[in-house]
Symmetry: C2
Subunit: 343 residues, 2 copies
DNA sequence: TTCAGAATCGTTAACGTTCACAATAATTAT
DNA sequence: ATAATTATTGTGAACGTTAACGATTCTGAA
């Protein structure tokens, strides 16, 4: 029993106790002290459930979600949304709801941010894809005192922000270790950035850095070549690449994003043997490649859980002022053929 | 709005709606049909939170936890308990509580089961270490209609049971793949069962099978030797082992349980080079070995999450008759030096 | 002294569900 | 036909929290 017990012990009504707990005005300093002392002595932790039950109808917790538009060819962003939806489903009966917004580029991003701030949301979940826009969003949010959680990527912003993301540098190092285990010191390493029109994301660059850092720590002479390839163009070998790929060395290919499944067909077409491939994200093409032994490892960043955790973290923060779940480092999941878990 | 809305539409009181929802007696067939029809039409999902808030004080959900006694030298079982405690913490305000029991062998297990059934628990979480005892526990539980969740291991029982566990066979295969990536076809493989006084657990055997299955699928001629070693005896090399270890082959060592950290000191003492080691569970000794590059891979089964999931799953089942979270296959987490996440 | 106005505090209904109890309707016995 | 049961339904309080509203006390100016 909570507030009632405190009230009785402090010789005041539950109304007053509520007032001091919620820092509402209209209570004298003496009684406040009196109540606070009782709370100090016998302790009190609010029953969040009861509180939300009361408020569910009148004071909804409204969260705005702003994520990249997910097309059929680029469905990654459906996954965090799935996690978000799951969390919201669990919390609707407590008066939590979410609105989904999407963007395609920096300009639509900014417009959507404006739209979001026109309504009165209690929190925002988005991605830090555009540094300037992210910073101004953060400023706006801070000015009206609502929390923001960034998913997927961490970039330096000029205020401390909440990120739910994988450490991409470490992920690159993990990729380096795994690939090196198969390829060894004498093989040849290729980092493949398969970029879309929007250029390379921060994640890709950080993953590449981690990968290089790891291999350098093993042997500074290891041969690494970075290849950048636009996603919708045909892949053509330069003379240099042709030479590197056609020798007998073992070759390790590190794809810094989720399009690793594009590699095996290219290798097959050009009859390149002795290769090992590692990439990111458990999309169905990559899963297929894992199953057929065309890709050796996939690193996953649990995007669904990222979305789920964002909502649950925000709920905890808003209801209990506990920010401890707003800033999470997602484990780097290593997937091989045998530990695929179908969802 | 739930029950009230249904009541209004069906022209009955909330009391009767509650009666049909909870299948309590005292409602005529006609009105029952009437209410059911409304529910069919406009749908109804009970607000579990409100329900539990009402019942929290009077109808506690009591869960019995029966796990192995965790000693200082064998602290694995603290981890599921941590997860259980976390879940209980989240649910206490909804009237959920747990009592912890432990056992050291089959006999104390049975006594504790008796103790548990003397009290009136609403659910039981335990481990399937003793087949007979597990079966009889399952029967008892079924006779009074309370759910049981088994953690950590799956064994065949003569009634369908709920398991939250990793697929140990697959885990063995993952180990096989990872080790084979480093050791190759020509190396020599050792499966090490470091057993305690209670013999080898089902997990260990299944992991060994998976490991062998995988390597056999690569090449039937791969050389694998199983070594069984009692945990508290000194390790002594037989002549055969001495010969196998002292040649120049690459050697892969698969420890089927959490004591892989015992291997590196032995290897060092006997000056054995060219070895790769893989084991299970993120205890601090294994973490240390990973960090020092003495162990290459650790497979983890997320014991903390297993405990957490058991409680949450039981809560969902008891409150909403939804058993979907009672039977979970835990992912096989592959850990290397770079993706250790400290807790 | 009186009293308006402010400051402080208590009361109460509500959130959705549960369930004991009261109330009514239907049935049977006399 | 009336009383006594039984079957069916409605009522209201409670879980812990919130907040509007009303009640009380206090302050200071006339």
């Amino acid at each position: 029993m909570g507030i009632k017990r405190i009230a009785k012990l402090a010789n005041v009504s539950i109304g007053t106790v509520d007032r001091v707990l919620n820092k509402r005005s209209g209570v004298s300093k003496e009684t406040e002290k009196k109540v606070l002392k009782i709370i100090e002595e016998i302790g009190y932790s609010k029953n969040t459930t009861a509180s939300r039950l009361k408020l569910a109808a009148t004071k909804k917790i409204k969260i705005a979600i702003l994520t990249p538009k997910s097309s059929t060819k680029w469905s990654y962003w459906k996954l965090p949304k799935k996690g978000i939806t799951k969390a919201i489903d669990e919390l609707t009966e407590l008066g939590v709801m979410a609105d989904f917004y999407d963007f395609t580029d920096s300009s639509t991003y900014k417009t959507q941010v404006k739209n979001i701030f026109l309504k009165n949301y209690d929190a925002i979940v988005t991605v830090p894809f555009f540094k300037n826009a992210s910073n101004s969003l953060l400023n706006l949010a801070e000015s009206i005192n609502i929390p923001v959680v960034f998913l997927d990527t961490e970039i330096p912003l000029h205020a401390t922000a909440n990120f739910i993301r994988q450490n991409s540098e470490k992920a690159g190092m993990v990729a380096g270790r795994l690939l090196h285990g198969l390829v060894g010191n004498d093989g040849h390493y290729f980092i493949v950035n398969i970029s879309n029109d929007k250029g390379i994301h921060a994640n890709g660059k950080q993953r590449e850095n981690g990968f290089r850092t790891f291999l350098k720590s093993i042997d500074t002479d290891i041969n690494i070549k970075t290849i950048t390839h636009a996603v919708d163009s045909n892949f053509t070998f330069t003379e240099e690449l042709e030479k590197l790929f056609k020798n007998n060395n073992t070759k390790g290919i590190f794809v810094t994003n989720s399009r690793s499944h594009m590699i095996p067909p290219i290798l097959k077409k050009h009859n390149i043997k002795n290769t090992f491939v590692i990439g990111f994200d458990m999309n169905k093409e990559n899963i297929e490649c894992l199953k057929n032994d065309k890709i050796n490892f996939i690193l996953d960043q649990n995007p669904k859980y990222q979305g789920y955790a964002a909502i649950k973290g925000l709920y905890k923060y808003i209801t209990e002022q506990d920010a401890s779940d707003l800033n999470i480092e997602i484990p780097i999941d290593i997937i091989v053929k045998e530990n695929i878990i179908e969802v």
